[in-house]
């Protein structure tokens, strides 16, 4: 098998799995400042699958790509520590407010700038929106087949890839030619840990906009070791049409948000005594709730 070029689409997301009571402002909007950001969990599974293919096929190159604000470079460094070869940051104020359609357009413009690719990967969905849309939308725009919900790659040859898909009610094994796009299910193996050696190598990896102008140490280091500079692409770099990106390229708009208030009703509070529990059971039977 010839070496592959794999692109893994990754996203930094607010940690919605640990939403505390202060995560919502009184007006019902999300208090993003109170939410930690994390590497989207399914995307870590996608990275592992890509690194696993790299283990299987020597010389394979894994590039991670993310669209997001400047601080999202954290997950590119994280990926480099775990074994990715390169990272690309797509960042520009004008990309902000994008829905999945505008996001997939932007990512595809960036992917098309790469010299070549064989497999595009991404997590099945991101925990901030749970939409699972960007993968299939990128596949459509690139004109390549998609294999969603991948749990395992059973074989990969010059003829194509054979992968196992995890469906809500079962599993399915499919074959697809390359190039193709895969979205990776959380049931696949968890991502390998950071390697100490790689952390040492990449800990000063930065995008240009992260480097302060007077930080001579970093500037000197980057000119000596160019691999530390994470490429950062804006609207012009990828040749994006401004009407198709960010808020203006997003057909879906949020009309309103409402915070979910747990409705307070008068509950009967009981103890674990025989009297209380028998009383309740009798009431339930009487009201034909159970019977």
């Amino acid at each position: 098998m010839r070496p592959l070029k794999i692109v893994v689409l990754i996203k930094q997301v607010p940690d919605t799995r640990h939403v505390g009571p202060d995560a919502m402002k009184p007006d019902g909007t999300v208090n993003r400042g109170k939410l930690d950001t994390v590497f989207n969990p399914d995307d870590l599974h996608a990275l592992e699958l890509a690194l696993n293919l790299k283990d299987r096929i020597p010389e394979t190159e894994v590039t991670v790509m993310t669209m997001g604000p400047r601080r999202a470079a954290d997950i590119i460094r994280d990926s480099l520590y775990r074994g990715a070869d390169n990272g690309i940051m797509i960042s520009d104020k004008r990309f902000g407010g994008a829905d999945t359609l505008a996001t997939s357009y932007t990512l595809v413009k960036a992917i098309e700038k790469l010299p070549s690719y064989d497999i595009i990967m991404g997590g099945r969905q991101a925990i901030d929106g749970d939409t699972a849309q960007v993968g299939p939308q990128c596949a459509e725009k690139l004109g390549i087949p998609q294999i969603t919900y991948v749990e395992e790659v059973l074989s990969i040859t010059n003829d194509g890839v054979i992968a196992k898909r995890r469906l809500s009610k079962g599993v399915e094994t499919v074959s697809s030619p390359i190039p193709c796009l895969m979205t990776v299910h959380g049931a696949s193996p968890a991502c390998r840990s950071k390697e100490a050696k790689r952390v040492m190598k990449y800990k000063y990896a930065r995008t240009n906009s992260e480097i302060r102008r007077n930080d001579e140490f970093i500037i000197a280091l980057h000119s000596k070791r160019p691999y530390l500079t994470i490429p950062e692409w804006g609207v012009e770099d990828i040749g994006a049409d401004e009407s198709k990106i960010g808020l203006s390229g997003s057909p879906t708009k949020v009309k309103s948000v409402e915070s979910v208030v747990l409705t307070a009703s008068e509950a009967k509070v009981l103890s674990e005594s025989d009297t209380d529990i028998e009383g309740m059971i009798k009431e339930l039977i009487e009201h034909h709730t159970i019977g």
Partner: protein, 339 residues
């Protein structure tokens, strides 16, 4: 007025539950708008399939019947759907938020360059004033969905790039027959003229669909456990109670993650949404992630050591105590009092 389209999932000559739910909801929206409801059914050996679709009040059914269309594969179904939607130009298109719908709908949205709202739980029709254009858009689709782990409900609209599309979560909307004698116009779709050879490059090698005997959605009574149940062994207590009451056992995400109970019994935002007559929550604190999937239960009993557990605010009965004590007593007194 432009129509509402529903993509129906069909396998082994049966229209999926989710699709029947979509048709029922689609009909309500169509009545509100005064427009037609149309369905797309793509599969194999679909003779008389309209009998399962028409009663929901469907005016027109597009049927593509071809061996190559079942089981579902992305590309041929995407080509057919895209072709029909471009040609018929509906105002609203609905898909199930299932393994199939979530694979297909975004591909279509990209091809049509339109918006798609994922995992909606409420659909409605309403207006929206766009300040920038000083214009009131009327009769838009309100696609309402939980977001941010279920802590907010967001109303998503789309006024300028039609059609308006949404995927709808399974088991949330009610199946309702509109008229058993409803007559639909049937349109046979010429598959070979639309689907290209290249649409078949992905091949299915093997397929195992479990006809799962877990049916949380239909269960009238659910006994659910959380992390607080403590062990797999304690879950057997819940199973005993559920069986006795004629219900099913479910679990919170934390209980599933801890390995106390199988994944297919998970209730909540990332599991199944349920609305039973009675929901017994044992050792469940009631994170929004969980309550989003069960808060519509008619009656809720919470068994918890923690009087401050958030789920108690939803409950009709709060039993403050140890579930290892409470559940055996419930079993005992049910046996003693049931007729």
């Amino acid at each position: 007025m432009k129509s509402i389209f529903v993509y129906c999932e069909v396998e082994n000559q049966k229209v999926a539950d989710i699709s029947q739910e979509l048709l029922s909801t689609g009909k309500k929206l169509a009545v509100k708008l005064g427009c037609q409801l149309e369905a797309m059914v793509f599969g194999s050996q679909l003779d008389k399939i309209e009998n399962q679709v028409s009663p929901f009040g469907v005016d027109k059914i597009y049927i593509a019947d071809n061996k190559s269309l079942e089981p579902y594969r992305t590309l041929p179904h995407a080509s057919l759907t895209t072709h029909l939607l471009k040609k018929e130009d509906p105002q609203i298109v609905l898909f199930g938020a299932t393994s199939v719908g979530r694979d297909l709908a975004p591909r279509i949205a990209s091809a049509l360059n339109c918006g798609l709202t994922a995992d909606t739980t409420i659909l409605d029709i309403g207006n929206h004033f766009v300040k920038k254009e000083k214009k009131e858009y009327q009769n838009l689709l309100y696609a309402i969905r939980p977001a941010f782990g279920g802590s907010i409900m967001a109303n998503i609209i789309n006024w300028d790039q039609h059609p308006q599309m949404a995927t709808v979560r399974e088991g949330v909307m009610k199946k309702e027959v509109f008229d058993n004698n409803y007559k639909s116009e049937i349109v046979e779709v010429d598959v070979n003229s639309i689907v290209d050879e290249k649409d078949f490059v992905v091949k299915i090698i093997e397929r195992h669909i479990e006809e799962s005997d877990v049916n949380l959605k239909e269960a009238p009574i659910i006994v659910a456990g959380g992390y607080g149940v403590g062990s797999k062994e304690n879950f057997e207590l819940l199973e005993e109670l559920a069986e006795l009451l004629g219900g099913e056992v479910g679990g919170s995400r934390a209980a599933v993650d801890a390995g106390f109970i199988d994944h297919d019994r998970q209730i909540g935002q990332t599991g199944t949404t349920v609305r039973p007559k009675l929901y017994i929550a044992a050792g469940i604190s009631g994170a929004i992630q969980h309550t989003a999937g069960m808060q519509d239960a008619s009656m809720i009993i919470s068994i918890n050591n923690d009087p401050e557990a958030p789920i108690n605010s939803l409950a009709d009965y709060v039993i403050q105590g140890d579930l290892e004590v409470v559940i055996p007593k419930m079993i005992k007194f049910y046996k003693a009092n049931a007729k």
